[in-house]
């Protein structure tokens, strides 16, 4: 069987094009190096999508993240979010070393906690553990981008200018911590503890009063509760949503060639058909 080392198990040998060495310079030269020498490469340019949604986004058929939210399509590639939200900023909240006891001492890994947001209605949170800090941070940023959620904002009083606060009183709960967010007038700023304040800043909420209850010392539950709260802003049924939903076609359906269909009467398709 083929083992590694001096094994001729690759392709391109035998009568191949001069073996691996010769192939290397000709093959990859035309692609701008092929090696990631120095600095960050431009990820979006070199992104080759792996999922169907990724291919649609790369082509440009999907132009906003809201289309993806509307049809609840799972996003598996972080480059999708990057393409649709180019102004996404990230911040590392914590690097926590965790250790595992081994016979030869302790093995330390690092857990990175990253929050991303564009300051305009989208936030995400990601956690990754890895042997190196840099790898953990990179992984956490990717996971954070994949978990981006939309945040609804509204007005406190007069509907002048852009929405600046939560649309209504919402409350989120996790463990024993409940966080209640109350609309605030302009200029109030974010009245919250340090950690949820960061999250709310990334969400793009400018003014809010908060009130919390429970053991907020447990920061994990605290942050999760604020996240839950933000999630609920779009879950709250207000009178503007009373109108009946007019369903639109899922992006996977929009570009089907309708002419290819046989001579059946075209019924307005609803969005429940999801790509499988």
């Amino acid at each position: 069987m083929a083992e590694r080392g001096g094994e001729r198990g690759g392709f391109g040998r035998g009568f191949g094009r001069g073996g691996r060495g010769g192939r290397g310079d000709r093959g990859r030269g035309g692609r701008g190096g092929g090696r990631r020498g120095g600095g960050r490469r431009d990820e979006e340019e070199k992104w080759v999508p792996v999922t169907k949604l990724g291919r649609l986004v790369k082509e440009g058929k999907i132009r906003s993240l809201e289309q993806i939210y509307l049809h609840s399509l799972p996003v598996k590639e972080h480059q999708i979010i990057e393409t649709l939200l180019p102004s996404l900023k990230d911040e590392v909240m914590k690097i926590m070393p965790v250790q595992k006891q081994t016979r030869a001492g302790q093995r330390t890994r690092f857990k990175a906690f990253v929050v991303v947001g564009d300051g305009n209605g989208h936030v995400g949170l990601g956690v990754k553990c890895s042997k190196e800090v840099a790898t953990a941070i990179r992984g956490a940023i990717i996971l954070a981008k994949l978990s981006v959620i939309p945040v609804r904002r509204g007005y406190w009083g007069n509907k002048i200018g852009k929405p600046h606060t939560v649309p209504c009183k919402v409350t989120g709960k996790c463990g024993s911590v409940t966080v209640r967010m109350v609309p605030a007038p302009r200029g109030a700023g974010i009245v919250a503890a340090r950690v949820p304040k960061k999250v709310l800043q990334f969400a793009g909420i400018e003014d809010v009063f908060t009130s919390s209850r429970g053991s907020t010392k447990t920061l994990g539950n605290f942050v999760k509760a604020t996240f839950d709260c933000l999630l609920k802003t779009y879950g709250f049924l207000t009178p503007d949503f009373w109108r009946e939903t007019r369903f639109t076609k899922s992006p996977f359906q929009e570009y089907t060639d309708l002419l290819a269909k046989p001579t059946k009467v075209l019924i307005a398709e609803d969005t429940s058909k999801l790509d499988d």
């Binding site: 069987m1 083992e3 690759g10 392709f11 391109g12 035998g14 691996r20 290397g24 093959g27 035309g30 692609r31 092929g34 990631r36 080759v48 999508p49 792996v50 999922t51 169907k52 291919r55 790369k58 809201e66 289309q67 939210y69 509307l70 609840s72 799972p74 598996k76 590392v92 909240m93 926590m96 070393p97 250790q99 595992k100 006891q101 956690v127 990754k128 553990c129 800090v133 941070i137 996971l143 978990s147 959620i149 509204g154 007005y155 929405p163 950690v195 920061l219 994990g220 539950n221 779009y234 879950g235 049924l237 939903t245 639109t248 996977f252 359906q253 570009y255 089907t256 060639d257 058909k273």
Partner: protein, 415 residues
Amino acid sequence: MPKEMEVEENGLHVENFGSLHIYSEEEHDDEQDPQVENEEDDEVEEQEPVTLGFVEKPKSPNSLLRHFFPSKAGGVPAWLDPVDLPSERSRACGICGEPLQFLLQVYAPISEKESTFHRTLFVFMCPSMACLLQDQHEQWKRQPEKPSRSVKVFRCQLCRSNPFYSSEPPRFDGTDKPSKVGAELCCWCGTWKGDKVCSSCKSARYCSEKHQIMHWRSGHKVDCQRISCQSLVSSSSNSTTSSMKILGKVAGNTLWTEFEIVSEDECVFDTEASEDNNYSTSLVCNDQMDETVNSLLESFEGSDDKKSWASFQERISKAPEQVLRYCRDSKAKPLWPMSSGRPSESDIPKCNYCHGPMHYEFQILPQLLYYFGVKNDADSLDWATIVAYTCAASCEASTGYKEEFAWVQLSSSLV
């Protein structure tokens, strides 16, 4: 009216967000205290060297002919053994009966044995997604009476001295002549053996009735008369059609774009970690980290499927344009995008010919679909990976093209 509050799209309504939730799938990493964690190796370090394949535009239309022993994707296959092509039953999709379409071929010789001096693996699949979904059921069947798959892998091998090619390597200087013409190929797909002849003009050959019908409808009806008149006059039309086939011009237009596959070792792409590590300030200080923070950490880390997808992405990100991963080591494991839908040891059958074990040889990645420009409709082709298992001994058998086993993993719509 707070119209700005509502998202830009029309018809965006509250109900659609009921399904959005923070993933609270629990994963089995419970920590006793913040500083010590359980054994959990989420990164399976693969020590075996992997060769990656990338697609590139071919240098010239003639550079991918079979006497150059190419590795290519799309277009028509460059059959290694040009005479003993796959039979009628093996060339059709087991589910819909249409002839399969050529996906890619990999030139993968093994130098230990003389009989495998030349060795190529061909992958064919049916371009219909409905067949691929049905094929999933087929591949899970163990020892079926007659396997009816829609994805097939063929292996062909030759000794150095063989009746089709010279024993010297090709010189690539323009003087290489194609070897003697092999069997006639279907003039619609250019892929399979054209053993059926058009009864009226006697010069157009087809691999199946379906292709004959397609060709007839898209122009052969007109040409047929002309050709049959010509052949009565002179017998030169046969040679013109066969010389056209050598250049790879086929009548059908559904073939995937032709590319050449170039190889590169994966270790070439390993990057150095060059980011600075001074992230000492943090919002959450150490003593405040306890079980609940850790539970938060877990819930944001995601479920099994997400984790395997994340490791897959990480591995791919070293060389995002790769379409093929090749590793013939006996200990090699394929890189699985999903955690569901993986075969166990017993799901991989024994070799059809020598009944020896089959091992993983290479896998095809979905970037290929992007390069082929496959449409992205609801019913167009999409897979997460196709893994080819081949006979570990690369046995000799009487047929020219031996069938191997392909495992397809589809991307699940759940995360």
